[in-house]
Symmetry: C2
Subunit: 126 residues, 2 copies
Amino acid sequence: MPKAMPNHSGRMADETCPVCATADIICGKWTILVIRDLAAGRTRFCELERSLAGISPRTLSLRLRALEEEGMVERHSFPEVPPRVEYSLTEKGQALLPLIEDMRSYGKEWLKVCSEARASVAPVAA
Amino acid sequence: MPKAMPNHSGRMADETCPVCATADIICGKWTILVIRDLAAGRTRFCELERSLAGISPRTLSLRLRALEEEGMVERHSFPEVPPRVEYSLTEKGQALLPLIEDMRSYGKEWLKVCSEARASVAPVAA
DNA sequence: GGCCCACGCTTCAGTTGGTGAAGCATTGCG
DNA sequence: CGCAATGCTTCACCAACTGAAGCGTGGGCC
């Protein structure tokens, strides 16, 4: 009997709720950012490590594995030395890109509002 | 020097990246679902506890507090017995609703694909 | 030959976030 | 009296994420 959802583990309340389903996919701390960076095309582990400044290799490894299991990313491994592994988005993974674009536009607006708020408060405090 | 973002703690790599900013806001496990439920209007603590079946009161309390700090939700407390507290989305919080709608449509599609995959695999295995 | 580097990880011990169960304060109801 | 209801908080625990270190392999450097 196949499990309904190939997600990590700590599952949301309602398995049939689409919002929960999506939340479950992207709720890992770095998941969305991994996908964002993978959107540029095939990317190597160390490139991701660099662009996701601050991620631990363990976490990146776990995220990539989980995303692979979920069918969001594909792994292309080359038996060279030093080893080379490239990751890319599957179609399913690409489907998340519009969502990420929305997050970008929301975040942009939000950062703008925040900086305006700071600009209008700081002078008074100073 | 005021902090750029009033987010919880474990901050993302690039503070100026809009995707990170949004990810930072919604990456808490239940955050998006709290906002989803708050979208219906003023909601009490225990109502949220019920609709978010499975959330611990501690987590709900923490999420609501964090969202309040971030200016996403408003708290309306009535000094009655038993106590009554209602939560609602601020304008800033409402701005997240389109994002949630996108998550809903993505999740819907994804659940559909999953169930189709199961339907086409299960009979073979059985 | 000996040494270090690069890469894609894994292992380790420690911190943070979320969990279920229980408790607290208040007061009306039976 | 004892219990229910509400909005929490506290507790001990588990799972996720962290930084630092290690591993295996072979190539470049000296």
